[in-house]
């Protein structure tokens, strides 16, 4: 046991506590403070109260980024969970090559969002138009040149990247279902669909919560893919929240406004995570 006042307790914690304070807690408090000033990145001359916060609600780019991000998150959360679970069910069927498929589906997750965005920029602009010519499908032309194709482009990249990750989590829970339960149901004459809805699905409910949370908070925080795939264009129409905050600071040099936006962003992301924790607590109590 280590006592609160023992030197070793504090020495063991020093590296991480100091780094955490320097890197997270001090800057976030400074940022909060600056969001109430007219800070220009170096100095500030006066306190401005809630002016930055009022301004951000009239900031078209921010509002547009907010709704774009919300739409993106709704679509990707649904697609990632459906496809991720589908892939997990597929590769746990133990046919020849199922292990190899697992490797394939997870592979995009190893590559960073920045490079993935570049890869897909080529596919959407060059590959899709070649495919469109070959198949005479005009909707495959001119991807990433408007908001709609930019939106679906980002969705496709994110699904391709993260579906394998979500699959891995579902697999972990699927493997915890005892085989006997499934076999017993099979003997009792339950159809494959009944086995899935009555046994498999309820038993992987916790996985659903974990994946829901992961896809939700990741979706809100996406930046790299946004930067390399569309760079927010055309005309900021595909700019997501994280990118709007970064650009407000480093392109428009409006540092105080950027901090205010970042604090609102913090509240959104934290609220999602806390809801998740509360929901889990409640369910554990119910059990």
């Amino acid at each position: 046991m280590m006592k609160n006042r023992s030197l070793s307790f504090w020495l063991f914690l020093t590296p991480t506590l100091v780094a955490l304070a320097l890197v997270v807690f001090i800057p976030v408090l400074e940022g909060l403070f600056y969001s109430f000033t007219n800070w220009d990145g170096l100095t500030y001359t006066k306190m401005v109260g809630f002016q930055n916060y009022i301004q951000l609600f009239h900031d078209k780019a921010f509002i547009n980024a907010f709704w774009f991000t919300v739409g993106f998150v709704i679509v990707t959360v649904i697609l990632l969970n459906v496809i991720g679970l589908g892939l997990a069910l597929l590769v746990t069927q133990k046919f020849k090559g199922s292990n190899f498929l697992r490797t394939v589906f997870f592979m995009p997750n190893m590559i960073g969002g920045l490079i993935l965005g570049f890869i897909w920029q080529f596919i959407f602009t060059q590959g899709f138009s070649a495919l469109g010519n070959a198949l005479h499908m005009s909707w495959l032309q001119n991807w990433l040149t408007n908001e709609t194709t930019g939106f679906w482009g980002l969705v496709i990249v994110t699904v391709w990247q993260m579906a394998g990750y979500i699959m891995i989590i579902y697999i972990a829970y699927l493997q915890n279902i005892p085989n006997e339960v499934i076999e017993a149901a099979e003997i009792d004459g339950a159809s494959a669909w009944q086995r899935f809805t009555k046994i498999t699905f309820p038993m992987i409910a916790p996985a659903f919560t974990v994946c829901m949370f992961l896809t939700l908070s990741n979706g809100f925080k996406i930046y790299d893919q946004n930067l390399s795939l569309t760079n927010g264009g055309p005309y900021h129409s595909t700019q997501m929240l994280a990118m709007d905050i970064v650009n407000t600071a480093y392109n428009s040099s409006n540092f105080a406004l950027s901090e205010a936006k970042a604090m609102i962003f913090f509240v959104i992301v934290a609220a999602i995570s806390l809801l998740q924790v509360l929901y889990n607590r409640k369910r554990e109590v119910d059990l």
Binding site: T16, S98, S228
Partner: protein
């Protein structure tokens, strides 16, 4: 399941796998084409294949330098995170007071704060003490990544009985010796998980290093971003550059696959 439905599933799976890998196929095949070849046909195999693209983009990317920077930063940061987080988690887990509970909560709550909320003051502070470089970046990674790592170590530590510490103490070991010689080796399975999760996150990180590193210390993602800006519309070079820069990750993945899958599962499920 019947044999027939298994083979149907198998065929469906293989088709899906091919679709999944198709982006890689397009990138790699087109990276061997001349600009004319790409223009003529994106979907076909290269007719007059060339390796010039690789020679040129390897130089333009200054690949050996950026690979070295990526390696130094990732290895240094991951080693420090492993040691720091294991020590921190050990102290917190072997102290059952309200204080240690509060500190753990502090670490976990830090995970809620998005990077954008700290980015400007953080870089301003580090800049004012001339720490906007590799080593400043390594310290930043310790701050950002230690929360999850401490959380993961904490779970494993609770399954190591206190009797282990006490036995070592009876033999006259100091606190550091107990940790380093007895406890830390027992944490190795979790250390692999912590290492994997941090390697993936740090190796691929773009935004933070782009704000911190001087151009002489650019990592692979930063160099790729620069390179792409210079060679837009020169897809033959860009694609060769992409292929070179994802190669180390793919090799690492194929070698360490088993641990990677386990690490990712542990990180998400625990």
């Amino acid at each position: 399941m019947s044999k027939k439905s298994k083979s149907v599933l198998g065929i469906f799976g293989i088709l899906l796998g091919i679709i999944w890998l198709f982006p890689f196929y397009l990138i790699v095949t087109n990276s061997f084409k001349t600009p004319k070849g790409i223009f003529a046909s994106v979907l076909s195999l290269p007719v007059h294949s060339t390796t010039d693209n690789y020679v040129n983009s390897f130089k333009a990317l200054d690949f050996m330098a950026s690979l070295t920077h990526s390696l130094i930063i990732t290895v240094a940061a991951v080693l420090i995170i492993i040691l720091g987080a294991a020590m921190g988690a050990y102290a917190l887990q072997r102290n059952k007071s309200k204080l240690s509970g509060g500190l753990l909560l502090l670490f976990i709550s830090a995970m809620l704060i998005p990077f954008q909320s700290v980015m400007i003051p953080l870089t301003a502070n580090f800049g004012s003490v001339h720490f906007l470089n590799m080593w400043g970046l390594v310290i930043m990674y310790l701050g950002f990544q230690s929360s999850l790592s401490i959380f993961l170590y904490q779970g494993t530590l609770s399954s190591i009985p206190l009797a282990m510490d006490e036995a070592a103490e009876m033999e006259g070991a100091s606190r550091w010796q107990i940790f380093y010689k007895v406890i830390f080796p027992m944490l190795s399975p979790m250390t692999v998980t912590v290492a994997i999760l941090n390697i993936i996150a740090i190796w691929n990180d773009y935004l933070l290093p782009s704000l911190v590193l001087p151009q002489t210390q650019y990592t692979i993602p930063l160099q790729m971003f620069n390179f792409f800006g210079q060679y837009t519309k020169q897809w033959h070079l860009a694609l060769a550059g992409i292929t070179i820069s994802i190669l180390p990750v793919i090799i690492f993945y194929l070698i360490a696959q088993k641990w990677i899958i386990k690490g990712v599962t542990d990180g998400a499920v625990k």
